[in-house]
């Protein structure tokens, strides 16, 4: 299999440069939004809430809020990264270059993943200003964050190829990911829901991600960590297969 490191790095560097050029939108905006969540739900409302599973409410919501930002930002970044060249016509250069699916993904998805990780680190640092928390499995947490970031960067890449308008580009993060993350146990434990809603909530795949990340933080989860991990890996594999098919067929890329 061919892999041109220089090509991948060129794409990666340009995408990172784009992120720093739009630092306010890419980094400051989500940090500000998350900080507001911590202020309102963590400090103000959280002070009146009972601990959940032995975890103070302010700390309990950190994994969910982190997941909320991570999913939205990695998906949007990756989708925007490939959609804009299609929209402006600059994709001609990528398509005419000796660059295959591996370099393209390493560049675009790698950059989206890096941005997601930077964002996660900033959010966790911001959280320390509002609540006390300890991460039970820090290495696993970092791994899981990277896994989720890369999966949703791939998903965003597919979205950016599928979308043929800015409206479609924004639909999935706004109308699907955000509501599903809110309903996926970000602010509560699914186990506390009355029947049958506790079972219905498990139809939401984001609930498994939030639960998985919460386990890496506090060692407590709504569903077994193995299930969350398996589902995330399965989603990652599915996205890789879809993107490989897209590149082989040239769907929405080549006329």
């Amino acid at each position: 299999m061919h892999f041109n490191v220089r090509s991948a790095y060129a794409i990666y560097r340009r995408e990172m440069s784009r992120a720093f050029r739009t630092a306010f939108q890419s980094i400051l905006s989500p940090v500000l939004t998350t900080s507001l969540y911590f202020v309102v739900f963590g400090s103000v409302i959280g002070a009146r809430m009972e601990p959940i599973g032995g975890v103070p409410y302010g700390a309990f919501i950190i994994p969910g809020l982190l997941m909320l930002t991570l999913l939205g930002e990695t998906t949007s970044n990756a989708s925007f990264g490939i959609y804009m060249p299609r929209f402006t016509g600059t994709i001609y250069e990528l398509l005419s270059a000796p660059v295959g699916v591996a370099e393209t993904l390493a560049g675009f998805v790698g950059a989206a993943m890096t941005k997601g990780l930077i964002l996660a680190a900033i959010i966790l640092a911001t959280a320390t200003l509002f609540v006390d928390y300890q991460i039970a499995h820090p290495v696993f947490a970092a791994f899981y964050i990277m896994l989720v970031a890369s999966s949703f960067a791939l998903f965003g890449f597919i979205l950016g190829i599928w979308a043929d308008s800015f409206e479609k580009l924004g639909i999935i993060p706004l109308l699907l990911l955000t509501p599903l993350t809110f309903l996926g146990g970000t602010f509560y434990s699914i186990r506390d829901l009355p029947a049958p809603w506790d079972a219905v909530a498990l139809a939401n795949p984001i609930a498994f991600l939030v639960s998985g990340l919460r386990w890496t933080f506090y060692g407590t989860a709504d569903v077994p960590i193995a299930v969350s991990l398996g589902l995330t890996l399965g989603f990652l594999a599915l996205c890789v297969v879809i993107i490989t098919v897209i590149f082989r067929t040239g769907w929405r890329l080549r006329e």
Binding site: N4, A10, S17, T88, Y92, E255
Partner: protein
């Protein structure tokens, strides 16, 4: 015969909806030449370039560049091909330097600041290297696209309408830059609407219409083979009939019988010599004339004539 570096055989492209943009195109490009692809809008020029450069998926046919099959061994082939698109598609918020450096890396070349400097200086963009592309004029943006296409030192360069929308001065400057590339051994395929451009620069010309290549030939050979001379002679007095010594020439008398039109020659100067003989014959026959206007056909005349035949066929 110079070495062929691009071989296209039986290339067809049918878009969704049934539009046949390319119809069984065969084309061979020689190393080191400037090949001009002429054709009206929608003739298939951009589709043909897109098929070679990987932007368009051909419906059928084969393409080989530098001996590499473009369907199977596309990485090796594309690494040696550059493309300057027709549209001014650039990352408007990027600086000139970063945009060109990106292209160098994208094509797998190591970062080479000296080479980038050479390219930017050669295209008079050095002073603008730190400017955002959106701040540049249209002509400069087009030069940035050329710089990006040259960043990986391609051996085969496609220029799709390189001088579209640029003023006469800049157009001539670009012709000089393209000629300099040829001097360095780069093979150039350009599409253009400006026949003058092809006439000025091309070694060979291909004429495409309706997705079909109507003709490919050396520019000079094409002009010699298809070129003609037209001479319009305004007579001093109406002529009742053509005397036999005049009628032997390829001439026509207009309805008012005061204008004689000669059409002949072969583009090699024979037409002008025959017009001189016709003038002498008119004098010998005692036919006075007021003026004589001679015009050799240009590549444009040939192009328009061929397109007319193409439509009729």
């Amino acid at each position: 015969m110079p070495e062929s570096i691009l071989e296209i055989s039986g290339l067809s492209k049918v878009y969704k909806g049934g539009t046949r943009a390319l119809d069984n195109v065969d084309l061979s490009i020689r190393k080191g030449e400037i090949f001009a692809l002429l054709g009206p809008n929608g003739a298939g020029k951009t589709t043909l370039i897109g098929a070679v450069c990987g932007l368009v998926r051909p419906s059928s046919g084969t393409m080989t560049a530098f001996g590499h099959d473009l369907a199977r061994d596309w990485r090796r082939a594309r690494a040696r091909i550059g493309l300057v698109p027709q549209e001014l598609a650039t990352d408007m918020f990027e600086t000139v330097w970063r945009a060109v450096a990106y292209s160098q890396g994208l094509f797998g070349k190591p970062y080479d600041a000296e080479r980038l400097e050479d390219i930017l200086k050669g295209l008079s963009l050095w002073d603008k290297r730190d400017a955002q592309i959106r701040a540049l004029s249209g002509g400069m943006k087009r030069r940035v696209l050329i710089a990006k296409a040259l960043a990986h030192d391609p051996e085969l360069l496609f220029l799709d309408e390189p001088t579209a929308g640029v003023d006469v001065e800049l157009r001539k400057s670009m012709w000089q830059q393209i000629a300099a590339l040829k001097e360095r051994g780069v093979t150039i395929i350009l599409t253009t609407h400006y026949i003058e451009e092809a006439e000025e620069m091309a070694d060979r010309v291909g004429i495409i219409q309706g997705g079909r290549i109507l003709m490919v030939d050396e520019k000079r050979a094409m002009m010699e083979r298809l070129g003609t001379t037209e001479a319009v002679i305004a007579l001093a007095a109406p002529l009742a009939a053509l005397p036999p010594e005049i009628a032997a020439f390829p001439v026509e008398l207009d309805a008012g019988r005061t204008c004689l039109t000669y059409r002949g020659g072969n583009g090699q100067g024979g037409g002008r010599a025959q017009v001189a003989q016709l003038a002498q014959a008119l004098t010998r026959a005692g036919i006075e004339y007021l003026s004589l206007d001679i015009h050799d056909s240009s590549l444009e005349d040939i192009f328009v004539g061929l397109l007319g035949e193409g439509r009729a066929a």
